[in-house]
Symmetry: C2
Subunit: 406 residues, 2 copies
């Protein structure tokens, strides 16, 4: 459905929109890969953010929420991987503020225009002796092609960098949106260990930008799950610096709808990359629940399926085990009649109403060997729907997570 949008994908990720610079480098938090990055807007940008709902929140979450209250503008974001600065108490909070101060000093910015973000191991103090000098170095390395280094620097167990950019026409202006994200374990609905940073040159006020982010987030990052675990550090930030010089628009305008659709496109694309790159994953699984009374109900059922270890291992084993799907809908908490449910894998019908099993084992096995699996569940009790993305559960997931800290 998203492919019908009047957006064109383009190169450049977060530095594709006008007026954004970035840099990423290695500073020694991690063993041997890039681990810190900086994203900067040449002019103060309107900012909006969404954060983890986990009650155990990392220091950067506290800091950024406080920053958002101080100013509707942001000029710089610093992000590190390798250390989450979570469960680090007073000292962790001081370290987080120290990152803000160092960035403001290096870039000659008001402190309230700096946001920070961390991902990695929980419960270890930040190596500030490495981070503070790195912030200074990054500020001297900012450039228009810094998107790739940034995308690499924020990775943890991600196996590939995740970025996207699109252009679309808004009145007489061309607007660009860029995005970068990281996964890849602890991904659950309502955010997870995922960070996403979106840049755009659209001119838009903070209230509308916040509204757009919440709408798009509800259809993207809140619709992915890897293992049901919700992280202490998740956030998605969007910066809009106005460089596209578009005319102002209101919430009820076509322009706003178009922007939301384009933002959704970018965020869903990143969300699917995160789901596909779940730890140990070999497949991207899209759960499409339709025929529901409400979108919320569809999403609730789809999330139960997406979080089922039994469904995820069955898909991994190319086993068309529709019974586990029906069982998951059954405990999802929604009201429905199992007799009316129909299930298909990649458009191949498996189950028709009244438990008529139309499964062709050979064809099912064949279609489940694909890398992208679409599971469609029709509840036949309304006309609403929702999509949720996840990945298969593999031995490699266990391997990665049984030895993450070491």
């Amino acid at each position: 459905m998203t492919t019908m949008l009047p957006v064109d994908e383009c190169q450049g990720g977060i530095t594709a929109p006008q007026g954004f610079l970035a840099a990423g480098m290695y500073c020694g938090i991690r063993k041997a890969k890039k681990d810190i990055a900086m994203i900067v807007s040449e002019v103060p940008a309107t900012i909006a953010g969404v954060f983890t709902l986990n009650k155990t929140q990392a220091a950067p979450i506290f800091v950024d929420k406080a920053q958002l209250k101080k100013s509707p503008f942001c000029s710089a974001i610093v992000v590190n991987s390798g250390n989450a600065n979570a469960c680090t108490g007073e000292r962790g909070l001081n370290d987080a503020w120290e990152m803000v101060k160092a960035t403001a000093a290096a870039l000659n910015l008001p402190e309230e225009q700096v946001m920070i973000s961390s991902t990695g191991v929980i419960g270890q103090y930040m190596p500030m002796d490495k981070i503070t000098p790195a912030i200074k170095q990054l500020s001297a390395q900012l450039h228009r092609a810094g998107n790739k280094d940034t995308a690499e620097a924020i990775m943890t167990t991600d196996t590939y960098p995740k970025e996207v950019a699109v252009k679309f026409t808004l009145g007489k202006s061309v607007v660009t949106i860029g995005g970068v994200a990281k996964g890849s374990g602890m991904i659950a609905p309502n955010m997870a260990t995922m960070l996403a940073f979106i840049t755009t040159d659209i001119a838009i006020g903070q209230p509308l930008l916040t509204k757009a982010l919440h709408i798009a987030n509800g259809k993207s990052f809140n619709r992915i799950t890897v293992d049901g675990d919700m992280s202490t550090n998740d956030m998605a930030l969007v910066l809009a610096n106005g460089k596209a010089n578009n005319a102002p628009f209101s919430e009820n305008s076509e322009e706003f709808q178009l922007f939301v659709a384009a933002l959704e496109y970018v965020m869903i694309k990143l969300a699917k990359m995160i789901a596909r790159d779940g730890e140990g994953a070999t497949k991207l699984i899209e759960i499409f629940v339709k025929g529901s009374k409400s979108e919320e109900e569809a999403a609730q059922a789809a999330k139960a399926i997406a979080n089922s270890n039994l469904v995820k291992t069955a898909i991994h084993g190319t086993d068309a085990n529709w019974g586990r799907i029906l069982a998951a809908v059954g405990y999802s908490g929604i009201d429905f009649n199992p007799d009316h449910v129909e299930i298909a894998f990649n458009e191949l019908p498996i189950l028709k109403k009244n438990y008529e099993i139309v499964l062709n084992e050979e064809k099912a096995k064949h279609t489940l060997q694909q890398e992208n699996i679409l599971i469609t569940i029709d509840l036949h009790q309304g006309n609403q729907s929702a999509r949720v993305w996840t990945c298969d559960l593999t031995k490699e997931y266990v391997h990665i997570n049984a030895s993450y800290r070491s």
Copy 2:
């Protein structure tokens, strides 16, 4: 705590109490193992039952709930493995009632005194041509030592049979309780693919028996989880045939408390066996949350930890990753202050208040190599507590569930 009870474990499982007979055999539902069993009380027994909350309910669940409404007494239970008779519609329901009729006919019982139970693959019709004759054969094979064959016949991916029996003194009588259960995937709080059948010779009316079952179930089968998936077929039934000839007692009596404690002992023992025998498991993990404002709150936090794939893989990898535990409490939905939490593994302190990390990696690694892991989380905000049991998440779990149907 349970070891301080005045109960003595004894041999004999479900046929240890007076007046119970059982038999188990192979009838061809499964490939090459026992797959059907019968448990019989020589005199009509008071019955109580608890059933899955999954909205996708198997045919035997419908049948047994209807039976419970018709009569407070039960004389026979027939159980098969290999086929769950779930998602089988009208025909499945007819097959389930046919099992009731065949059992009543074979044993010359009123139909309303028969309960049935099925576990195994979802969405396949029951091979009634094998089951009906088997029921007749079983009725001729009932004997006092039939507990072992029964325990084997109800296993699915369980790696060992699960049974227990205890004796305790009630006034001038000796009361015996026996139990048999099966796991071992799809085990979640609020029941799961688990079946449990409890027999006792206590004399007790149905209202009190139901009350006792609900109390004990809340502390045992509703406190275990293997993968968070809740099955369509779960049930726990308890039969009390009065053969112990104890004097009547009321709900507020010491006798009732003693019976509940003994029933809890039996059911917790079975619950722990189920958790330990989770698919692919190598360890039993007990999550003990204390210092909470209520037992419900403690259970809610403990279940979030027990369902965390990240925690379960970390324990598998002998990684004292307390951050994942704190993150799980954080998204459990309870209100708490992360700064006050203390965590210990097998009595070895790992985290003290205000994130003081007292973790000794070497000692932690050593204690986590044990087969039984106790994780204690002290919330320091009250004096209530709860225990939940689970197992580690292993590559073998993925292996088993990626190929279950084939």
